[in-house]
């Protein structure tokens, strides 16, 4: 890339608006290629699919901001799905109980990840990798490979329902987005997240308990994954042992596309959300163009390397 191009992309406005612009460009491209893209049905599909991934990405963003990485998100989603169906509940009155248990369990998983990373000094990659394998083993052992059980009808509404044409998943995502956006950008905790991610040692010297911040970020990430797991099991309708498979890598891809640096301390919640949306848009474009599903993988691979390379360039200048 020539220096002029770099200057062009690093111009402050473009830097700020690069993501929304590329998303709009994608949407325009999709509409030109296939006008059906703008059909309300398709848009609803996009948002219904984007919601669970988006929720995971919000959580993943917190972990990446403090120089971490969570590979256990997908495994946790499936585990939460198995837990939810294990109740075998039929009445909607059980939903709050299921939510409470699922979120409690997720928080425990996140707490364990955080303790391993901070107190035992295990690299995030390995700690969460081990957690992923352990959860997978426990889940399969419990279900003996063939999960059974049922969900109250209310769950289907979470996954596929609409309120005034707007998918419930999207509403859930927006609520969490607002909450976490406030937490990250307006609260004291959020400032501490950035300081810890930027440099944990100087954060400690500033009197921030950086271990606690990091542990909280892992808890947030796991709780988000748990919630996403519940939405996704509502969308799929039945439970299987691999609900959310691939989300661990997809969520990291989305975070990177969204401009959050893996080295920590740089990025916004907007970036995370847009990263997830761009990824889902790309998947959708592949589908509506009638390309084989496998093409998604190829496009995803090329985009992630390209996007990551772009951001490395932009941040270096």
């Amino acid at each position: 890339m020539s220096s002029q191009t770099i200057e062009f992309f690093t111009h402050s406005y473009l830097k700020r608006f690069a993501l929304p612009l590329s998303m709009i460009a994608l949407a325009v491209l999709a509409t030109i290629l296939q006008p059906a893209f703008l059909a309300p049905k398709n848009l609803q599909d996009i948002f219904t699919q984007a919601a669970p991934l988006g929720i995971v990405v919000l959580g993943q963003a917190f972990v990446v901001l403090v120089r971490g990485l969570d590979l256990s998100v997908a495994s946790l989603m499936a585990t939460v799905a198995v837990i939810a169906t294990a109740f075998n509940a039929t009445s909607n009155a059980a939903i709050p109980v299921i939510f409470a248990v699922a979120i409690g369990f997720s928080a425990l998983v996140g707490f364990t990840n955080g303790i391993l990373v901070t107190k035992r000094n295990v690299s995030p990659f390995l700690a969460t990798l081990a957690m992923m394998i352990v959860l997978q083993g426990l889940r399969f052992y419990y279900t003996q490979g063939a999960p059974a059980g049922s969900l109250p009808d209310g769950f289907r509404f979470l996954g596929t329902g609409r309120i005034g044409g707007i998918p419930v998943g999207l509403i859930g995502f927006l609520c969490l987005f607002t909450l976490l956006g406030w937490l990250l950008h307006k609260s004291e905790f959020g400032r501490k997240v950035y300081i810890t991610g930027g440099n944990p040692i100087s954060a400690t010297l500033c009197g921030i308990n950086s271990d606690r911040i990091i542990i909280l970020c892992y808890v947030i990430c796991s709780v988000m994954s748990g919630i996403a797991g519940l939405f996704l099991v509502g969308f799929v309708g039945t439970v299987d042992n691999w609900v959310g498979r691939g989300y661990e890598l997809d969520s990291i891809v989305a975070v990177v596309i969204g401009g959050i640096a893996l080295s920590g301390g740089v990025g916004t919640i907007w970036g995370a959300a847009l990263g997830a949306l761009i990824l889902v848009l790309l998947f959708n474009i592949v589908i509506i163009l009638g390309l084989p599903v496998q093409a998604q993988l190829i496009i995803k691979g090329v985009i992630i390397i390209f996007a990551a390379a772009m951001f490395v360039r932009v941040q270096k200048v």
Binding site: L69, L116, K119, R120, N121, V122, S123, P124, F125, L126, A127, L129, A130, M131, M132, I133, V134, Q136, G137, L138, R139, F140, Y141, Q144, G145, L249, I252, V253, V256, L262, P292, Q294, A295, Q296, L297, I298, I299, K300, G301, V302, I304, I305, A308, A309, V312, K316
Partner: protein, 325 residues
């Protein structure tokens, strides 16, 4: 937790004084525990026949972990190994299926293909400055997409004689196991006694410092990534030889499995520290453990849990003050 870390550090220090690599000792002790448990708990486990079978079956894990070790030593990580195994297996089985006379050339082509993908991973990492984790997720995604576009079912076939690679024996020794051991020995020699090998440690330890001492750090990293691709393609060939077909979903669990022996063997993610001997012991540990758990009729699912706990146990013993990756 305090006494625990203090104790492990003290043990580590006293071992260092005795010129023993503490990380090797941990995996060695674990291996001995598994062997003793095996002899005690099952009368079939300790037979020469079973141990040779384990050696034969561990070849695939050995090849990929050996490749992964090299990349980890230069401070990288390769999450595309599963995809490369799949792609080389499918490529091999698909081409040879109708032209058995191409068997020998295709072995060379597949190994070159693996090396090329490894080189590409290294090149993209160095050229773009993007974390290898992301780059290799990207290449893996592209490779998987291409393979699945080509076929969704196991495809192709190989001539009968090629099965000798996976099942053949020289006396009691399995050919695949012997080839794996030779590869490990070669890499061990390379790392310990050649300039290139020492450069790999230097680059992994501190790339900038290595560059300033006149080491061509880019070429060293590229070598490590390419060699990784080579060994991973070899694992792909092994799988084809073992199953007789190219399975497009073969590689999925391999990527993360390849990392466990590396970590348990005491290599530090982030580079510059460790020994492939540790990886080899790690490969034996995982293979023997799974074999033993099979004999004890313990389900695969619990084997996963045990594997996860072993990773955690090992890394929290090795936990260093310097946190990388």
């Amino acid at each position: 937790m305090k006494w625990y870390s203090k104790m492990s550090r003290r043990i580590g220090n006293s071992l260092r004084r005795l010129h023993l690599d503490p990380s090797l000792l941990v995996v060695f002790v674990l291996l001995v525990i598994v062997l003793i448990a095996g002899f005690a708990l099952s009368d079939r486990f300790g037979t020469v026949r079973n141990l040779m079978n384990v050696l034969e079956q561990s070849a695939a894990l050995g090849f990929v972990s050996l490749g992964q070790s090299l990349v980890v030593l230069v401070g990288g990580i390769d999450l595309s190994v599963g995809a490369v195994v799949t792609a080389s297996a499918v490529l091999m089985a698909a081409v040879v299926d109708s032209n058995p006379e191409l068997m020998i050339p295709i072995i060379i082509v597949v190994l070159a293909f693996g090396t090329l993908i490894g080189y590409l991973n290294g090149y993209l990492t160095l050229k773009t400055g993007v974390h290898p984790l992301i780059v290799t997720i990207g290449t893996a995604s592209v490779l998987n997409g291409l393979v699945l576009l080509y076929t969704l079912q196991p495809t192709g076939g190989v001539p009968f004689w090629f099965e000798e690679f996976a099942y053949g024996r020289i006396g009691p020794l399995p050919i695949a196991g012997v080839i794996m051991l030779i590869c490990f020995a070669a890499v061990w020699y390379l790392l310990k006694y050649t300039t290139l090998g020492r450069s790999i440690y230097a680059v992994g330890g501190d790339e900038e410092a290595a560059r300033l001492t006149g080491i061509n750090s880019k070429r060293t990293s590229l070598f490590a990534y390419s060699a990784c691709g080579f060994f991973v393609a070899l694992a792909g060939a092994y799988y084809v030889s073992r199953t007789g077909v190219g399975d497009p979903r073969l590689g999925e669990p391999i990527t993360l499995a390849s990392i466990t022996p590396v970590i348990v063997g005491g290599l530090l993610l982030g580079g510059g520290k460790g020994n492939v001997l540790g990886t080899l012991l790690g490969v034996f540990l995982i293979s023997l453990l799974n074999n033993l758990l099979n004999y004890m009729n313990i389900s695969t699912f619990i084997q996963w849990v045990v594997q996860g706990l072993i990773i955690l146990f090992a890394v929290s013993i090795y936990a260093s003050k310097v946190k990388k990756l």
